[in-house]
């Protein structure tokens, strides 16, 4: 039976090939973890970013930025005379795996803290784990705010830090009042647009349209037709992921130029402007704390060192910068309290901690676990980088519940009543959610 034999040998061959492929692709991670094997007395830090799956594109760069910071800290003598050792886990872009890996980092590896997550969904899946086992998470992404967990510190921007100055700037400096808002259909764009609408009312702008596209949507002809009919003179976009590049490309193909109708967004980074091509990106505006073109000595050396380690064609962006400086903030906090005890870091080490980040000096708020950041507005250039056209006078205070939408809500971990509640061990009060509801 020649056919059977051929099939069998084919199966053997393909099995061997597949085996080689599996070893080839997983070997780097295996070795990384082996290197990460801690010596007695080292300080272990968990790194929890997806290195595979759909959001690996951005999370790999966060992972890289954190490893760079750890390497630098160790080169300068480490923390408390000990080395920081990264324990890398790959949650594969799967929300449930994030929680499993977080548990493993806390219980098995007993890490001092975890730097990790990118999407809000992944953060919310790990938070209960951190609250139950009293771990410490540092989270670098800009997000929709309205969260306050004892066990999490947020080093990315919350909407007030990107919008409070951006919206009035558009109205006053660009002189454009009619906003058409588009976004991907999930919580971040909806919350952001809620805030934009409140700001429009406050500053005399007008909301002429609001539309959401399913996540991953890449066909924007209908929305562009609606924009054309709305009389808008500015498009405010909260699109994320693959939608961004497709929207900017199609926007120009339908005859819109940045001079006629600029797109303003708190999301589009250097990565996307590079991928959409110079003719589609140039002239549109983004509001961020950080751009690769920020002119500080800290940033120049950060960009230089990042490119030296990961390749000259690499681009840095705001979320990576937060991932980078939060590693330093953690190291300084450990240095300050003299140990890696979680409650000491949460109540003494991190609040008020300052660091000269690439974007300028940043500070963790004493009360609400979020971070004081700079505000900037960038105008995209032909090469995909941004010209910074406006910078805030000072760092902007993070306000997870902005006063003009939620006047009676706030988050204050210096309040004795709050402290009494959150310091109680989780096991004694299982009904309590770790997130503070005041």
């Amino acid at each position: 039976m020649p056919k059977t034999i051929r099939r069998r040998s084919f199966l053997k061959g393909s099995a061997a090939g597949l085996g080689a492929l599996v070893i080839g692709t997983t070997a780097p991670y295996y070795f990384q973890r082996n290197i990460a094997k801690a010596q007695e007395g080292d300080i272990k830090v968990g790194i929890l970013h997806s290195l595979s799956g759909t959001i690996a594109i951005i999370e790999t760069s966060l992972h890289n930025a954190e490893l760079l910071a750890i390497e630098e800290i160790n080169a300068k003598g480490g923390v408390l005379g000990k080395k920081l050792v990264p324990v890398v886990e790959d949650p594969q872009s799967l929300v449930q795996v994030f929680a499993e890996k977080a548990k493993k980092l806390l219980l098995e590896d007993k890490v001092a803290a975890v730097l990790g997550c990118y999407t809000s969904a992944s953060r919310q899946s790990v938070l209960p784990v951190f609250e139950e086992y009293n771990g410490l998470l540092l989270y670098p992404t800009l997000y929709e705010a309205q969260e306050c967990s004892k066990n999490c510190f947020y080093t990315g921007a919350v909407p007030n830090q990107q919008l409070d100055d951006f919206v009035p700037w558009i109205i006053q400096t660009l002189g454009r009042k009619k906003f058409y808002m588009i976004g991907s259909n999930y919580i971040y764009p909806k919350e952001t647009n809620r805030e934009v609408k409140a700001l429009l009312e406050k500053h005399g702008g007008e909301n002429v349209g609001e539309e959401y596209a399913p996540l991953g949507h890449t066909e924007f002809s209908t929305i562009i037709n609606n924009i054309a009919g709305s009389g808008a003179d500015i498009v405010f976009s909260d699109l994320v992921g693959d939608s961004i590049v497709a929207f900017y490309k199609q926007f120009r193909q339908f005859g819109f130029t940045a001079a006629d109708l600029p797109i303003c967004t708190p999301i589009t980074t250097e990565q996307e402007t590079a991928a959409m091509g110079p003719e589609n990106a140039a002239g549109h505006y983004t509001s961020f704390n950080y751009f690769q073109t920020v002119d500080t000595p800290e940033n120049k050396s950060f960009v230089e060192r990042y490119k030296a380690k990961y390749g000259a064609n690499q681009v840095t962006n705001a979320v990576m910068e937060a991932a980078y400086f939060q590693t330093y903030l953690l190291a300084q906090a450990i240095e300050k309290v003299g140990n890696t005890e979680t409650d000491a870091l949460i109540f003494d080490g991190l609040p008020g901690q300052e660091f000269k980040a690439p974007q300028g000096p940043v500070k963790i708020d004493e009360k609400n676990h979020h971070t004081w950041l700079w505000a900037r507005i960038g105008k995209a250039r032909e090469d995909g980088q941004f010209d910074i056209v406006w910078t805030s006078q000072d760092r902007i205070r993070p306000d997870p519940w902005v006063d003009y939408l939620y006047p009676n809500k706030d988050c204050d971990f210096t309040d004795p009543k709050v402290l009494e509640r959150v310091k109680k061990p989780w096991a004694e009060d299982k009904n309590r959610s770790g997130t503070i509801d005041l």
Partner: protein, 290 residues
Amino acid sequence: MSQALISQVLIGLSVAAILAIAAMGLAIIFGIAGVINMAHGQFIMVGAYTAAVVGQLGGNTFVAIPVAFVVVALLGLIVERGIIQWIYDRPLETLLATWGVGIILEVLMKVIFGPELYYVGAPKILDGGIRLIGRLPYPYYRMFLIAVALVMLFVTLYIIFRTDFGLKVRSVRRNRAMSGCLGIDTARIDMLIFMYGSGLAGIAGAVLAPIKSVSTTMGFSYAVGSYMVIVLGGVGNLLGVPTGSFLIGEGETLLAYKYNAVIGQLLVFVAIVIAIRVFPRGIFGYHERR
């Protein structure tokens, strides 16, 4: 009919063209070789990356089309000779095998090209648009896409109905065993059809890259659209693809215009589920002669 609505119908045509371009390769492979190619989206992705490489070497979309056709057709040849030819008669296993191929391709492309997004521009000559009706100019590139969809359809129709090869293909589709008895090399027909369908997926990647984003995970959404088109249109007749694309494309665009994109997509899904209840084999269903 208001002007805005007319321009919306025209936009819907281009959306239908995009769907048809993406679905054509899948429909041919499914309709003739009987394999549901779960790696179809990833084949489109490889075509888009081919266009990105051609672009970096200085070529434009017109150069990228034949190159992507050849590259992905060769990829199809490797997949067909390496895996599919052994399991044609086991549909469930072809499903799993091609799914696996899709995953491998995605990882492989990420290893080769890195995780970042790639830039593919539209050719200069197709920049801009013409004002037909309503508020928006109609982009030349979208007209080009409609033309590509029509050319793909007519070339395929020509091959199937006006060539010797096409005669054999039709005969194999009608009755595989009898065709084999009459001396047609059915395995070779399957192989060539798999290559041709794969090549069409490559063209889809190359022409869609300039208006969409190019990343290793881009294939999935095209695959979903393509499956919907052939489920609705059926594979019994090549007209199933343009019919399915037209209904879905116009339906989605007009509903998105009337309500919004999220509702539009939802209603189209609902309509497809109902349509399958009425036409279980698609609008152009095919009944094999036994």
